[in-house]
Symmetry: C2
Amino acid sequence: MARRRGPRRGGVPAVTPPRNGSERLWDDDLADVAKALLSSAVECFAVKGFHGTTTRDITTTIGLTPGALYVHFSSKEEVLFEVVRSGHTRVLEELRSAPSTGNADGRLRWLVARFVTWHATHHTVGRICQYELSPLEPEHYAHVLELRGRINDVFRNAVHRRVDAHRFADQDVNRVARAILSLGVDLVRWYRLDGEDSPSRLGEFYADLAIRMTASPRTVTVR
Amino acid sequence: MARRRGPRRGGVPAVTPPRNGSERLWDDDLADVAKALLSSAVECFAVKGFHGTTTRDITTTIGLTPGALYVHFSSKEEVLFEVVRSGHTRVLEELRSAPSTGNADGRLRWLVARFVTWHATHHTVGRICQYELSPLEPEHYAHVLELRGRINDVFRNAVHRRVDAHRFADQDVNRVARAILSLGVDLVRWYRLDGEDSPSRLGEFYADLAIRMTASPRTVTVR
DNA sequence: CGTCAGTAACTATGCGCTTAGTATCTCTCA
DNA sequence: TGAGAGATACTAAGCGCATAGTTACTGACG
C-alpha cells in the first residue's frame, strides 16, 4: 500500500468528466479519458486562455496528474488544436446538413439559425475557436484556416443566392455575408445560457435580421 | 568601466517607440517612456495575448530592460489595465462628441460610423479591449465593465430613439442594439488595414446596415 | 548634492514535459 | 486452467528552463 504507484487500469474509471456539454463534440474514436481531457481543457482555455492554462489545471480538474495528458496527446498545443479542429468540423457538418431543397430566403434563414444556435449552445468552445488561434503551430493553424474558409463559403454562397434572387446590383454581397457571419461569431463573446434568449430563439432572431440585412436597399427606403 | 551599471539618462532618448498609431490613445500626463511601453505592450498583447507576453517582450522591443517597466507601472497587469481603460475611454469620448442636433436616423448613423471607424483604425488596441479582459484584477475589471456599460447605453438609446421615431412595437430594440454593437466590435477580430475597406468606408457601410437593421419589419415586407 | 530613470543581477516560483516505476489487463501456451 | 509475458494507463518525482518581480547600484540632470 505504501508503495502504491499506479491507478487501477480498467474497471471503474478514476476520471471525473466535466459536465459542460462539450463531450458531444469530440471524435468517436477517442478514448473516454482523452475526451474528458478535452472537455476539461475547454473550460480552462475559455476562462484563462491557452497560455494562462497549465497542464495541471486541465488534468487535476478531472482527477488526474499532469503526466496523464501526454499519454493521449503529444503536447498542450495539440489539445488546443483538437478542440479547435473539432469545433470547426462540427460547425461545418451542421451547415452541410442544410436541406438542399427550398428557396434562397429559406436557405439563408436556415443556415443563420443553425449557425447561431450552435454557437450559443457551444459558446464556450466557440470562444476558443475564435480567439485562441494564435498559439497553434503553423500547420495546425493552416488546417483550421481551411476549415474556416469552407464555413465562410457556405455563407457567402447563400447570401449571393438570396441577393441574386432579388436582382440587386448595388449591394456589396461579400460585406453583408461577412457581417452576418460576424454576428454569429461575436455572440460567443457575450452569450450566457442564463440570459433571456435560448440558443434557438437567438437563432430565429438573427435569421430574421439576416433577411433584413440582405433585403434590397430600395425596399427599405420605399417609404 | 567594468562596474558600469546604468544607462545614460536624458539627452538622446534610448527608447524606440513603436509606430502603430496607439500613442495617440494614452493619457497626456504619462511620461514618454510610459507611453512607449503601452504602445509596445499593445503589439505584444494583440499577437500573443496577455499571458503569452513577457515583460521582456514588451521592454526589449523598445530598447529597455524588464526592470524599467516597474519604474512606470506597478505590474504587468497594470499595463494591461491602462491599455484597456484608455481604449474604452477614447471610444466613449468619440461617441460623446456626437452632435446633439439632428434626427434619430442621422444620430444612429453617425454613432455607428464613428464607432466602426475607430475600431477599424485601432483594431489592435480594440482586440485587447475585447478579448483580454480576464487577466484583469477584479477592481480593474469592474472599472472597465462600467465603461462598457456606458458605451452600450449610448447605442441602446440611439436605437430606441430611431425605433420610437418610427413607432414600431414588434421590434426587439435591445437585441438589435446589441447586434449593431456586436458588428462594430467583432471587426477588430478580422480587420486589416491592407484589406479592401478603409476604416471610414467600413464605417459608412455599417452605418447603412444599422439603418436597415432598425427599419420597420413592415417596411421590409412591403413588397 | 539629491533625485530618479534605468540596468544588471538575482530570487522564488512555476511551467511543460520526461522518466522510472506500478498495477492491471489481455493474450498465449502448456 | 493457471502462469507468465507483454502492453498500457497512469503516478510521483523530477528536470531544465523561464517568468514576474526585486534589489543594489550607476550615471545624468537640475
